[in-house]
């Protein structure tokens, strides 16, 4: 029951965004029309360009409008380590944290039999080819610490174990600033199993 058909369809269109419901979409629509038409035009333009222009990097499957993304094209990054991740957001998380200068590979998901996602959907052939081309000393399995993330890590380990000398899994345990008393049992078990020499 809106103001006009065009406004109604804009309100509906905004609801594709995560976390945006009818109310929020209505607020966004009215805001752009009332206060920021220029911004709205720019949004429409960039959105259109991005939706048709952004594809996948041919080497790491990260989002990119070039054939090779900027992480793969950057000659200053090291080929010695390849970090395998579930989503492009994970690359941003690691980049923002800093400290890693190797290469990435993005799966865009994890193995999930019940959702019909098997090895093929995650580009495992491409990962194998990437590892053969790059010949890294180490593959870092940085999939999430969920049951599906762990299943994915195991699958990749079995797939690559004869091709790479060192396959590592990101550490899991007590978070920085964590107090044991408040940590769940599963995490404590992993933290106890994965303890390291103290030096």
């Amino acid at each position: 029951m809106g103001i006009s058909p065009l406004i109604d369809s804009l309100v509906e269109a905004f609801q594709v965004l995560p976390g945006v419901g009818p109310k929020g979409a209505q607020r966004m629509t009215l805001h752009l029309l009332q206060h920021n038409r220029e911004g709205g035009r720019r949004l429409a333009e960039v959105l259109g360009e991005a939706m048709s222009g952004v594809g996948y990097c041919s080497q790491c499957r990260n989002f990119s409008e070039e054939d090779v993304c900027r992480f793969c094209a950057d000659a200053r990054r090291e080929d010695a380590a390849l970090c395998v991740l579930e989503s492009p957001a994970d690359i941003l998380a690691i980049e923002q944290a800093g400290g890693f200068r190797g290469r990435y590979f993005v799966l865009h998901g994890h193995l999930s039999p019940i959702d019909g996602i098997g090895p093929e959907e995650l580009g495992m052939d491409m990962l194998t080819r990437r590892v053969e081309a790059l010949a890294p000393d180490e593959v870092i399995l940085a999939t999430n610490l969920t049951v599906e993330g762990e299943a994915t890590a195991h699958y990749i380990h079995d797939l690559l174990k004869d091709r790479v000398s060192r396959i590592t899994r990101i550490a899991h345990g007590v978070p920085l600033g964590g107090e044991l008393e408040f940590i769940d049992g599963g995490t404590i078990v992993h933290a106890m199993q994965g303890r390291r020499n103290f030096s």
């Binding site: 995560p18 976390g19 193995l111 999930s112 039999p113 019940i114 959702d115 019909g116 996602i117 098997g118 090895p119 093929e120 969920t146 049951v147 599906e148 762990e150 299943a151 195991h154 699958y155 079995d158 797939l159 769940d184 049992g185 599963g186 078990v189």
Partner: protein, 224 residues
Amino acid sequence: MSRVTGQPGIVLHTRPYRESSLLLTLLTPDHGVVSLVGRGVRGGSRGRSLQPFTLLRVSWSGRSSLGTLGSFEADTQFWFRGNVLASAFYLTELIIRLLEEREPHPRLFAGLCWALEHLESGPSDVLRRFEKLLLEELGYGLDFARDVSGEPIVSGRSYRLVPDHGFETAADGVDGDVLLKIGREAFAEPGVRRAARGLFAEALAAHLGPRPLVSRSLLVDHGR
């Protein structure tokens, strides 16, 4: 039914829903397969225990097919690795593909608990027992004592499976002795295990339809 409290449940599957919610599928004894929305549980420490193969004590509300998750408490969290994990996924995939939602299955619930507890010690035995139980619970249990014409199955005679009906005598089938052992769940001999695997796969295939089970593809095929 509008409110259920303190029901045991095993998490079969979870999927992100909206910004911070989770859709989860559980197997419970009194309500069978149940789908629930856990509002605001994703990402937080509360939601972290909602992983597949976690045994919970759970409450929910709602009349529709999709209920709302209330309070829950994780009881046991099974954490499998490698091929054992692929086997565990196989069990949950079978349940979700074959069971109707909201039909009570106390035996199957107990069977899944048992299977998850014992999977690590001998996956193939556990899988065969679970498949046998699942077929029984679906109403397609195989009769390993009598053939389709009502005659007792005997050692030394050969049989083949007619899915959903039973065994009939056939020239080049499985020996009656093997069927009797499968009926007693005596899977110690490799020949019996192999035969059981084939028979249960055939019996289940009739209900799974043409779509392949994805969990089978999780066992790395090095031939590729």
